[in-house]
Every structure is written in C-alpha cells, then in structure tokens.
Amino acid sequence: MPGTLSYKTIAAFNKREGKAVAEVWDFFYAFVFSNIRTLTNGSSDTRDLTSETLAILLDHQDHFESAAKIRNFLFITARNKSANHMNRLRIVKAHSEELEKHYQGIEADDLAGAETAASLLRQVYSAIKRLPDKRREVIILYNQGLKNREIAERLGVSQKAVEKRKTIAFKTLKMEFRTSDGFTFLIIFL
C-alpha cells in the first residue's frame, strides 16, 4: 500500500497507544470510506458504516504485523458491513423496485472493482491532505463547487490570493479537476 505506516507506529498501535490510534485511523479513513461507499452504491449511511468499521478495528484484540494486515482486516470488515447493510435494505423494502435494482447492482459488482476505486480515491485524498494548510483549504472549498470569489469571502483573503494558492496546489497535485460548468484545468508540469 503506497504511503507509509512505520513499524514503530504499528507496534504502538498494537498496544493501542493514543497517538498511533489517531495515526492509523487517519491513514485508513479514506480507504474504508471509499470502499463502503462503492459497495453500498453510494449509501447515505456510508459515514456511519465507516465509523463502525474503524471502531471494530480499534476494539480488535489481535496483533497486526503490518499495514497490509490492517488493510485486509478493514477491507473484509467493510465488505461484511456493506453486505449486511444491503441485505437489511432488501428485507425492509423487499418490494421496492428501485432498491432491488440497487441491490442487484451491488451483488454483481466486483469487489475488486470497489477496492481499485477505493485505492485511487484514497491516494487523491492523501495527496490533497499532504498540501500545506492554506492550499488545502482552497482545494477543499473549490472541490465543493465554490467560486474563487466565494472562497475568498469564506477565508477572508483576496481573490488573487485564492487564485495563487489554487494554482500552486494544482501544480503540486498534478491533477485535472473539472468544475461543474465543465471547465477543465490542465496542469502543465515539468
């Protein structure tokens, strides 16, 4: 798994030391969230299921040898949670055609596909998270669909400052984002 969780952190996590618990949570949050979101077809319960999955990991007594082992544990837990959730929906609203269709969609959905999508989204999330505070703020607000003027107002800075931070952030991310009006930023890098 790209990115790092040092052996020291994993050892401290096995003892459930506070700092390591927070670090591991932070490291896997995006992974669990995007897996559950895909497996439940974008359910609005994704947030609760994510917190339940991560809490199960923290409560779990076993020792983990590596980040990969934690990842596998979380993936299986997320998959089971999502499957239970979808089953529940099916039982409660067995006659709802719409949900039935969703359910079938998930059944057919490839677990590996969900994992692939989660891997990509986790890496984008981490790349944005690594940005310095000011640039990250701008990118998060921009991703929410805010215009430069609105971002400037929200942060109490000039529009020029917003544009500058955004440009540098995009260069760092080397990524193409499209606003809702279809305008595309193409980032030219070295």
Binding site: T4, G18, A22, F33, D110
Partner: protein
Amino acid sequence: MSNPERIGTLLFRYTRRELTRAEEAELSAWRSLSPKNEQLFQRQTDPEHIRKEVSLMFESRDYVLQKTKERYPGPWEEETKKPKARVYRIMRWAAIFVIVLGVGLYFLLSGSKVGRPGRYQAELVLNGVKITLDDLHRGFLAGNADIRVDEKENGELVYIAGNHRRAGKEKYNRLYTSRGGQFSLKLPDGTIIWVNAETSITFPANFSQDSIKITVEGEAYFEVAHDSAHIFIVSLLSTVNRQPSTKNGIQIKTTGAHFNIMSYADEPAIRMTLLEGIAEVRLDSSQAQSAINLSPGQQARVTDQKISVIPAVDGNEIIAWKNGKTFFRDAPIQTIMRTISRWYDVDVVYIGNIPDKHFNLNAPRHSNLSEVLSILQQQGIHVSLRGKVITISP
C-alpha cells in the same frame, strides 16, 4: 483480476499523467481484460467523479471521527493543531536562530567536526536548478510533489524521481554527493540506486523510452526493478589512476540486475560486481574493444584498457557500504583508507615504508573515525589523526 491496489495506483498515476510506457501497457492490458474494467476506468478517472467523491470524504471526516471516538473511547491523541500562521512563522525563525546559534557554539567549543561519519546528504540538479537534499531540507521540500524525499524504515533518505514525459528525451537530471554524503534514488520504474560518497549520477528526466541511459562517476549500487520494461545502459564517466584513458568507454547493459559499480578516479581499477541477474560489460576505447557477460557473484575489473573477470567475490563485502557497514577482509591499508577518506572527509598521508600487510575491518558506518582507526591500530600499524589528516606509518 490484477491486484486492485496496483491498478488503483496506476489510475492515480494516469490522472497525474505520470505513467511510464510500461505502466501504460499494463493499464491498457487490464482495461481490455473485460468490459467491466473499461467501465471502471472510464468512471473512476472522470475528474468530476473524483472531485465529488473526494469532496465528500473531506466533508464527512469530522463526523466519522466523532462517531468512531464515541464507539471507541480508548486513548486517542491527535496531533496538536499548528499555531496560527504568524506565530508559527515567528517560531520557525526563532527555532532556526537557536539551531544556528547551537551549531555555532558547537563548532566554537568542539573545534571542528572532524571524525564524524558521513550522513544522508546530496545535491540534486533538476532543470539546471541545484537543490540540497538532506534531513534539514526535507521539511521545506514537503508538499512539493516534484521534489519528493522519503525516509525508509532504517532512516535512509531516498529521492523519488518523477517521470516528466513532456521533457525532451535528451534531458538529464543529476544527483551527486560530496565526501561524507550518501543518498538513494528511486526511478519511476521502481529501480533503486544507492549512491555512495563523492559520486555523481545522471539520469533521464523522461522515462518513457525503451533504453534508460545513466552515467556514474564514483560508487553506486543498482537494484533494477524486476518488472522494469527498460534496458539500462550505464556508462562510467571515469578516469583510471587520474588518466583519462577510458572516458565514456565502459558500458553496462542490463534489464533486471542488481549490481555495484565502483569507478572512483583514485582507485586502481574500475569494478563492476553483479549480485543478481545478468549484465553485459563492454569496453570500447580507441585501443581496445571487448565485451563480456557477467553472472551473479562475478566481478568485472577494468585496468589498462583490459577487462578481466574475478569468478567469485563476496557480494556482502562489496555492498557493505550500502548496508551501513565499513567492511574489509584481507585488504591493503591503502584500499581501506581510500574508503575512509571519502566517508569521513579526511586526507591520508603515508610516511616511511608501509608494510605490505593486509587488514580486516568491520564497523558500522555511523562509528566515529577514532573508533575505526583504533581497530586498525590494534592490527599493528601506526595511525594518527591531526586536523583533517590521518598519518599512517609503520
């Protein structure tokens, strides 16, 4: 289906336009494997989709964190929030001032830094701009995706080279170390090069080409990625015994090998040791042309325009430097001292008739010079250190 984590990484690199040609082929093979994969590719790389999903993750983070804490009330210690920018800036300058003052005082009180081992430090020349890579500068470089320096579990620092596909194919970047410096370099195909002290490496900015041409002057250990789709052609820009006799004349051609190159100008021979895989060593000069194929455990030595092959060498001894050791078995004092002078940044002077005797040395690279010299002294040779000069006498 292929490893989802790997495909996820390829998709990520695709959105950043970072794929090498080999990676492009890998991704396209996966896409054509099933219509479902193609569908997944189209959907997941749609910028609008990524924007929405990632945005939701950031929006939901605080809520999920709060809920997890409610479910798991055990110890939890988040990183303290950074102080406000202005205060932070003042604190940073104050910290720098204290460090500078401390370092100054150290030199004033201790006289010098002579005898301290080398450290992870290198200079990177990227598009003509020189950047210092070391632990101190790492923090300043963080967040700049073009200059990424990672720290490995063992504390080694490694520069992660990017693939600049729009750069000209003849465009090269350079990483070099001075005496007392060491660094690692990870290339876009996963190949890792450990760079010893007083060494210079040039490598292409654009990795989307079949042959990767690299030049080495000094000592470097290569672990070419097994799945690398590139042919590596390593040229040694070196002179033997300070005579520019073999300049540009030695080439190593390989696809997936592990090998060490030692081509310092003050060494009596250029040595290339193969630890894994196969490699061809070619000597091409005005006076001679020859080529040999090396097998693992063999060493090619180039002296006086000739290649000779040592059939079995101890690989561990050859790459001890890379594994954090200064290791010699049955070696002349001059050979040992050349390595010591590079790592501890000292000069060596010989007085009188130095006996033709061989020495052993096995010390961690982080040992102080005095510890290393005392090991040699115990084996019956006089060694003294004054300033930056070691004097060896019988």
